[in-house]
């Protein structure tokens, strides 16, 4: 089986990660690695992960998502996860995975707006290090 690769696109300051099929644990780990590498390489300031096509998320993927967010924020990049489907949200809540510290948005549009707002805020405050989770 050929390894499925999640595309990571750089759009302006943002790394756009669109997960387009259900992925297994190894692919998630690999994705984490590649996202962090890309942040370093492109000096991106924000990461947007679109999971609107995921119909189910297990506890491992759920935890990885929040891990990626924490890791990226240590590397000074804000992360927003967009497009979580109702069924996925219910599963995550039932699993007790609240993705604390991860920003969420309804779609890519909203996600980009949130990221832009946060960049603005950051510039104003000149804060460094971990960003508190902000729901716009």
């Amino acid at each position: 089986m050929t390894a499925f690769k999640v595309p990571i696109l750089k759009v302006g300051d943002v790394l756009l990660v669109s997960i387009q099929a259900d992925i297994d644990d190894r692919a998630v780990l690999e994705l984490q690695q590649r996202v962090l590498e890309q942040i370093e390489l492109t000096n991106a300031r924000s990461v947007l992960i679109d999971i609107s096509l995921l119909e189910m998320v297990d506890s491992f993927t759920g935890r990885m998502l929040s891990d990626i967010a924490s890791m990226a924020s240590i590397m000074d990049a804000a992360t927003v996860v967009v497009g979580i489907q109702p069924a996925v949200a219910i599963t995550l809540v039932e699993l007790g995975l609240e993705l604390k510290g991860v920003s969420t948005a309804l779609d890519v549009d909203d996600g980009l707006r949130i990221l832009k707002e946060r960049m603005k805020e950051k510039r104003r405050k000149r804060t460094v290090g971990a960003d508190e989770h902000a729901t716009a």
Partner: protein, 319 residues
């Protein structure tokens, strides 16, 4: 005239059947008279004609059944017919708001109406009379308890149906403004309702791209640990979708209960009134309500001149 047929003790004496068949109309008359004059007859619930029609078909079916079937075991197609009839009667009675015991008593009351006719027929043979009465009484007892159980089953079905209806009625999601939706909750929350509510709310959020979802619990009488837990779960799920949940209608008694139960709602936006929640939602979606022709004090967007808009969107400013 002793029972000449000892092999089947259960069978009804032919004379009984003959008497009942011949004098069916008289029996019906007496039965109806007894019913109408009895204290538990309720004229407001059922008309005399309807009662008579039901009773006539029941009496006929009963006589046919005892004539052709084994009374002890209540088997055979005649008894199935009478069961079906009773099913119909009990359904009608339940719809007319008769209590199950009233419906059962209706069947039992046939006994005393049969008594004078049997007494006439077996005037010279008290032993057989007793035997026959016993058999008929047993058969009617069984039918009475059958109708009792059926009535209760019917009621349960009605209750279940109503519960289902209520469940569907009770979770409307209303769109208040662009990207603001509201879910007014009324009545007690249980796990099934909350599950349904959560699913509907989340689906609507995705469909309408709502940024703010207001959960109004004004109509929820009490909040216990379980309900609070559901609310927290819903709020978390809404956040995961990328929008924000506001809980409104938290009155004094609910606030007290929540604190006494030690439930932590600190991560959740709660408001006393639905209007406060709507105001908060406007703020969060970068909009505000201003009076017509009255420039808002010191707000920069007043110069735009579009004061006719009751809600001015300051959306573009955030970019």
């Amino acid at each position: 005239m002793t029972s000449e047929n000892n092999t089947s003790q259960a069978a009804i004496n032919p004379l009984t059947i003959k008497v009942l068949t011949e004098r069916e109309d008289e029996i019906l008359e007496i039965w109806m008279e007894n019913r109408v004059n009895s204290s538990d007859f309720r004229e407001t619930l059922i008309s005399g004609e309807e009662l008579r029609a039901d009773s006539q078909s029941f009496l006929r079916a009963f006589i046919t059944a005892i004539a052709n079937s084994n009374v002890e075991e209540m088997r055979g197609k005649e008894f199935n017919a009478i069961r079906r009839l009773l099913l119909e009667i009990s359904e009608a009675r339940a719809a007319q708001a008769f209590s199950p015991s009233e419906t059962a008593f209706y069947v039992f009351s046939l006994k005393e109406s049969l008594l004078p006719f049997l007494r006439d027929a077996f005037r010279d043979d008290p032993e057989t009379l007793l035997e026959e009465l016993n058999k008929l009484s047993k058969a009617l007892d069984k039918l009475g308890s059958f109708i009792f159980v059926t009535t209760i089953k019917n009621r349960e079905r009605v209750i279940r149906q109503q519960q289902q209806d209520m469940l569907e009625l009770s979770t409307p999601v209303v769109q208040i403004w662009d990207r603001i939706i509201c879910l007014p909750l009324i009545g007690t929350l249980d796990s099934r309702r909350t599950q349904l509510m959560m699913e509907r709310l989340l689906e609507r959020i995705v469909k309408t791209r709502a940024e703010v979802a207001i959960l109004d619990i004004t109509g929820v009488p009490t909040v216990d640990t379980q309900v609070a837990n559901y609310l927290i779960k819903t709020v978390t799920a809404v956040r995961l979708l990328g929008s924000t949940c506001i809980i409104t209608g938290v009155g004094p008694s609910i606030a007290q209960t929540i604190v006494h139960l030690g439930i932590d709602l600190s991560g959740i936006i709660t408001r006393n009134q639905l209007s406060d929640g709507i105001r908060q939602a406007f703020e969060m979606t970068r909009q505000r309500v201003v009076p017509i022709n009255a420039p808002p004090d010191g707000e920069p967007s007043a110069e735009k001149g579009d004061t006719d808009d009751r809600v001015q969107s300051t959306y573009s400013e955030s970019w």
